[in-house]
Homo-oligomer: 219 residues x 2
Amino acid sequence: MQAPLIVTVDIVLFTLSAGVLKIVLLRREHDPYAQQLALPGGYIHPEEDRDSLAAAERVLRQKTGLISPYLEQLFTFTGGVRDPRGWSASIAYYALVHESVLISDDEHRFELLPVDALPDLPFDHQRITTHAVKRLRDKSTYSSLPCHLLPGQFTLTELQHTYEQVLGISLDKSVFRRKLGEMDFLEAIPDAMRLGKHRPAQLYRLRDDARLALFNKTV
Amino acid sequence: MQAPLIVTVDIVLFTLSAGVLKIVLLRREHDPYAQQLALPGGYIHPEEDRDSLAAAERVLRQKTGLISPYLEQLFTFTGGVRDPRGWSASIAYYALVHESVLISDDEHRFELLPVDALPDLPFDHQRITTHAVKRLRDKSTYSSLPCHLLPGQFTLTELQHTYEQVLGISLDKSVFRRKLGEMDFLEAIPDAMRLGKHRPAQLYRLRDDARLALFNKTV
DNA sequence: GTAATAGTGTCTGTGAGACACTATGGT
DNA sequence: ACCATAGTGTCTCACAGACACTATTAC
């Protein structure tokens, strides 16, 4: 057998706010690092959690009150120095939500900070975050991942802006739409249009079988 | 705090033998599943192992006697049903070695079996293996990963055959060489040639700064 | 010479990118 | 009518794939 190890899940929760990629941080209630901002995380509860994904869902729900439509295992960070309590393993996840689901946080339980201007984070949360941002950006170049940063329905222009904000590059409208058309993970919502000051735009949603579609090449 | 969890590392060790992708399996000495073939694996030793990567290296060394030049974290498999001893987490790794390093196994400590014709494996080792094969094949389409299945020096034709065997497709010689040239993660070894019945071939090796090079597109 | 493999050159079709164009609503 | 945005059509250049070609060795 072995000495008991600390096993936790930590979650990097992304959203787009004011055109900037941000993550959710919580102020820690207990030691170590009490009062500091850190990633949402917690112990695995073997009696309660079916697996680490279920643990991540529970921790997210309990600490932030929300359920993320997209939640994927990122990497497992381990070692004797990352947590002052001893040798530990953190199974890290990352999640994407639309900003609107965060708005309802009346109790002000969390803070939303840009990934490019984070404070010092405890444990190895800086490293976890960097890893998550890299994964998000990489995967966004060849998949439908950024869709999960939008609400249930959105226009193609909104989707293009989301890709541009995540990737930090600008895309050609015509090329972007051509590729989306080939991939067919979106469906037009009949008679649903985004109205504004100008020509209304067709609203789309993810096809329900398509949580994550992979492109042949890149966006 | 939390109830103690079982935390292990398991390793999917790939090699190419007779043109077929195979993995190393060990016959388990102890219960559960004593005598059955399974992935090399073992408990993490917090006093001894700096992190889970070091644990994977140690387990590989102790169980198979070898050191793999390429060892990467694959995924962490967790849950209450995968191990009869209780809720467990297995941090899985995959590794690539050239067949020659396995030959020296006089004690017959392990078996080499094709990934497409595996016996039933205990725990969730089938799932881990499937995941690892997928990762290897995916990553081989856009990186220099298959190089690690070859010895320290090799010809371009040998490298092409390695890609073809891993991916299960055939590649065009001219196109393949053009892409390798653009990527420049190989270096010709001066005056080193593979001799045979016909025209000798230039030998190459990985540039020492290039453990894993990523392509822009695909092979 | 011939056979066999190493290694290179060239043509062509596809498709990504650039950009101009048309369409449709509000004011 | 005019403006702003939605949405489409077209040209071109780069490059992947196909394949033919040359080069170099053993026999």
